[in-house]
Amino acid sequence: MTSSPYLNRRTLIRRSAAAGLFTIPAVGALSSCASGGDDGDSVERQEATDSNPFGVSPDAELEVVIFDGGFGDQYALDAEEIYQGSYGSVDHTKTTEIRTRLQPRMVQGDPPDVINNSGADAMDIAALLRNDQVHDLTELLDAPSLDDPSVTVRDTLMPGVVEMGQFGSDPVYQFNYAYTVYGQWYSRTALERLEVEYPRTWDEMIAVCEKAKQEGIAGWTYPGVYPYYFNFTLYPFIGKIGGADVLRAIDNLEPNAWRHDAVRAAFEAYYELAARGYILQGSPGLTHEESQDEWNQGRALFIPNGSWVENESAQNTPEDFEMAVGPPTSLDSSDAMPFETIWASGSEPFFVPADAANVPGGLEFLRIMLGAESTRNFTELVSSLTCVRGAADGLTLPPGLTSASETLAAAGDNLLIPRMPDWYRQLNNEEIGGAIAAMMAGEIEPDEAITRCQRAADATAQDDSITKFQHI
């Protein structure tokens, strides 16, 4: 190449790139890191009294972030009103993007005081726990309840709520305000029209589905895009057949937990639905909304779901639908647990960050939310049960919710609380969900589905990057 006295384009680029390389270290020093520092100016605790058990400073500000999903945020605004009556002002934020908005603040060590960590964009609680970023709520549970100082908060709660906040050890890190009943959701009207009773054993289930098939109605539909909806009935089904220990072993990622006979029996029963053609055609590719619509329009009898479905599908539910939920159908009379056994547990998690400026205020706010006034208000506003015992007594509830509380009452202590969905979300949603999706779409047999589940569980157990939990 000839050397020209003028600077041509190519040399310019080459030289400026070289110059750039030298400047990089300097700029690296200038720019701050993505993971910033920690600033800790927190409010001091006052003397604790009976009415102020956490010693909330009367004028300290409280910052609450509410997930603006199916439940909206009015219930929280009302509870904040009560809080402001006794303490400082509340800074209220509602958002659907919990993680997007709050992750940077968690990293900076400057989080709000109460977070409603819910929705598709929720923060991974296990990751937060790994770095001790969540405050232990035990003192809240042992504090006197708002309405009756002689009863602790712990004793006002529904079964399974405290457990749902525990992650393999005694401390309780999150608090599930709503209470969800999972099961086989159906329309009483549809069953009446078919002149059948709610099936209590699997033989009855097959008979009901067969009868429906002759009428051109599918027995089941499900959201194949989110196949882990099947887990809402499949897990308690497994638990009923083999006892709660089978589910515990699965949650604890024990070797061969999936190879238990109860699991095989449950998988084979579900596969029978697919093999006999009782599943609504196209279900493997439906979203939750689409499958609920099909079910609302009477094209399928049963759908595995949780008690939020009534509110979520309210717009498309016919007037005479008479939504109801039943416990997962038992296999037969040799089952380890009674027919009434269901999966019911807290949902809609709240937590107080460990770095929050006003931790006592956050605890007090949660105590107020658990008071009778707030819980009744919540149930009336969003037609969902809360985690407080008897909070919905005397309220007029819509049919689905009435059925849910009846089913819950009938279950008594026969509750199952699988932790797979919140302990190992990836395993539950992707791997087990994927295996069940393939089985229900008829692509694989139960044997292979079980093998896939076991292989995925083993992989999770061996993966050091995933925090493990154990039932206590």
């Binding site: 993680r99 937060l128 979300r425």
Partner: protein, 341 residues
């Protein structure tokens, strides 16, 4: 010549050198007289102008583009969760894990299939349509080459998908692929291809091809416009000459149009390849969580669902390297002499 220069520079008296250096950092009006009349001043002035002119944009670029890249290399060697300011340095542990991660290789495989097929299909279609629109039509009396009938109309129609954002396209196509109400299954049924209907287009093995189809559909229009612009700058005389020599449409395309638009095609190839390597919006919106992954969606899941920002950054670095290798390969492979016209 180089040697002479060096000797010259070395023999400069220290004071002169100091003056020259000072002048480099001073505005022109403050240039010392001595330097101004120096014979090296012209070179100095040129470099001074360019350096000062470029320094600000370069600084912005370094701060907001290069420095995050470098930080990413560092974070990829930590166990940072993404949720706190605590992390420990773990060396190449994340990369070792990446090497043994079957799911990552599945995602990489899918990404590579898209990387190879999406540009081939999109660019071929784009070229074909652009050629038909610009030069593929029947010969008319007053023009040497012209597009097919209604080519102006087509040009606009092809561009339509480009107006929609990818997220919207993904939502629309998720509806199209929906098994019960989707237009695809209905359409197959309507033309008697009932056996082709699927219960689930996007959850299983077909998902990759479904995504590929949408990717190509959404970008073809852009390339039709791009290649049309490139083709319209080819001088008409060249076409005339080839017509006089008796070349048909196919020969004209391969002997004239294709070589003369090669530079544009190559740029388009790189751009489309990077789009295919991304495909994040499409896969994230259309494909269910248990379905297929491409590298960016896998990265996103690790970073934001599983709280493993450190590992996710390592995936990001791997993706960066693949992109880099692809671009460099394309630049080298397609190198030819430029034809000036």
């Amino acid at each position: 010549m180089e040697v002479r220069k060096e000797r010259e520079a070395a023999s400069l008296p220290p004071t002169t050198r100091l003056h020259l250096a000072a002048a480099f950092f001073l505005p022109p009006r403050l240039t010392p007289q001595r330097v101004r009349y120096d014979r090296r001043y012209r070179t100095l002035d040129k470099y001074r102008f360019i350096t000062w002119f470029l320094s600000l944009p370069l600084l912005v670029y370094l701060l907001f583009v290069v420095s995050p890249f470098l930080q990413a290399f560092y974070y990829s060697m930590t166990d940072w969760s993404g949720f706190s300011s605590n992390y420990t340095f773990t060396g190449f542990e994340n990369y070792e894990r990446l090497w043994n991660d079957d799911k990552f290789w599945d995602a990489m495989g899918n990404s590579l299939v898209l990387l190879v097929l999406a540009p081939v299909i999109t660019l071929s279609l784009g070229l074909f349509f652009a050629y038909m629109v610009n030069a593929g039509g029947r010969q008319r009396s007053n023009e040497t080459v012209s597009g097919v009938f209604g080519s102006r109309f087509y040009k606009i129609v092809y561009f339509f998908p480009q107006v929609l954002s990818l997220a919207i396209i993904a939502v629309i196509f998720a509806r199209i692929y929906s098994p019960r109400s989707g237009i695809l299954n209905e359409g197959l049924g309507a033309v008697g291809l009932d056996s082709w209907r699927q219960e689930d287009w996007l959850g299983g093995d077909l998902a990759l091809w479904c995504v590929l189809a949408v990717l190509c559909w959404s970008f073809v229009g852009f390339y039709v416009v791009l290649f049309s612009a490139a083709m319209s700058s080819i001088p008409r005389e060249i076409y005339e000459a080839s017509l006089l020599d008796g070349a048909g449409r196919t020969v004209t395309f391969f002997r004239i149009t294709f070589p003369l638009t090669w530079e544009t095609i190559r740029t388009g190839w790189i751009y489309m390849g990077i789009q295919a390597l991304d495909a994040f919006a499409l896969v994230n919106v259309m494909v269910p969580e248990h379905g297929m992954d491409v590298v960016p969606t896998y990265l996103f899941e690790k970073a934001f669902r599983d709280g493993q920002a450190g590992y996710a950054t390592a995936i990001g670095v791997a993706l960066f390297l693949v992109t880099l290798v692809f671009s460099v390969l394309m630049m080298l492979v397609g190198r030819r002499d430029r034809i000036e016209y």
